[in-house]
Amino acid sequence: MIEVRDLLKVFDTRGHVVRAVDNVTTQVAKGEVVVVLGPSGSGKSTFLRCLNGLEHFDEGHVAIDGLQLADPKTDINAYRREVGMVFQHFNLFPHMTVLENLCLAQKVVRKRSKADREAKARALLEKVGIAQKANEYPSRLSGGQQQRVAIARALAMDPKVMLFDEPTSALDPEMVGEVLDVMKTLAQEGMTMVCVTHEMGFAREVADRVLFFDHGKLLEDSAPAAFFAAPKDPRAQAFLRQVL
């Protein structure tokens, strides 16, 4: 479903060159849940943002469902509507109600009728457990509720792939669970997911594979059980000692 080949992203700030994503090659199969781990500054978020073109990469290929991102003939907007993304800081549109947040892209991009898009939005809000907040503005919602709305907003476009960029990092501890529950449900329903997260429990329980990044390099790619029991790479071992 997702194919990444020789991905290279270099940040060049006043002569200070950082190889944020350094020759990464990997695949994600349909229905697979991949968790990306690594210390901060290791390039995992940049890697994720390269997957839907929010970050322009320097070399390599990224393809989702056969659609090449680097191909100049690819319509980036058509590509992105198949790829849902959830951000660390939710990024809900504050001037719209929850329902309008969910309906905007359906209306503007998918051209769905008002009845269709509202039915879809309400069904998704029901699914993430905040149907009663449909007409509230995001500022009236807690962090966990906002993040669940953000997930529903991405799902409203019927994406083939969901990308999560540290979805629980900006949440109060007691709200992490409700967001992870929604993500688990999604994983069980067979959604293809790539999650950058620091939630080791989620990685262990839900992930099919764990990718470990450091200094832009993909150092380890293994099943969670193997990764947490016996990491092969010395830097992965050091990382796990720090966080567990």
């Binding site: 849902g84 993304m85 800081h89 990024n91 549109f93 504050p94 991009v109 503005y137 476009m157």
Partner: protein, 320 residues
Amino acid sequence: MIKHKKAQWPWHGLTALVLVGLAFSLYMATSMISYEWRWNRVPQYFAYKAEEAQRAAGYGTVQEIVISGDNARVTLKDENGAEQVLDVAKDSLQLSRGDDVAEGDQIGVTRHWAAGPLVWGLWTTLWISVVSGALGLLIGLFAGLCRLSSNPTLRDLTTVYVELVRGTPLLVQIFIFYFFIGTVLNLSREFAGVAALALFTGAYVAEIVRAGVQSIAKGQNEAARSLGLNAGQSMRHVILPQAFKRVLPPLAGQFISLVKDTSLVSVIAITELTKSGREAITTSFSTFEIWFCVAGLYLLINLPLSHLASRLERRLAQSD
């Protein structure tokens, strides 16, 4: 420390007292230069009874005069028997029955209420403000977005435009426009005035729009783009509505400035409020009264404008 709620009204009373004191000292100052206040001369510059002369179309005699109320209906008959009927005010009638009239002789006048120069000036100021404000908003929106564009030519051109307009006095710009548009393109002075004001406002609105768009967090655009909206859709549906809310106060200030700046187009002989005021003074000699009226009329436009802006601001704040 416990916060005590203190009564506010004595302070408001003091404010009123200060204002009354100021007004009184102004009155005293003008009496010292023996200025005579003649407010009774002012109303005629708002509305007055216009007189229109009614004249005979040809040679003839006054056939009949019928008085009804304040009006008189005069029937003239010429040698061929053709009749002309005129309605005039009774007290202005200059003929009696049987008099002979020649072509062009005044029979009398009709009177009707007409708007005075200050009202016409207010109207001119209003429409110039509205037209140049609307155009300025369009130009400013476009230029502001161009300043943020990734295309270097668009960016450079709008930067040159903004710097040129902000760096030169509006009065000079109006003269340049008047000379250029009036002489080279042969268009009306109103066109020149509106164009100069619109371009002037546009430059400031461009900077306001740019600042507003840049103040919206990058994540908003990223979220919109990640949902498949293109750059234009993201700008229209996500960025601009939020930016508009933020720039409403400076935008309102800019439009209030614009209303006041319209007084400068009087230099190219557009009879707007300030010029009407000056003309009214040349005939009334009531300098203070007329200028106070002119200032009051500007306030009459600007106070509702700022009230409208703050109401809009409150309405847009409901999502906070």
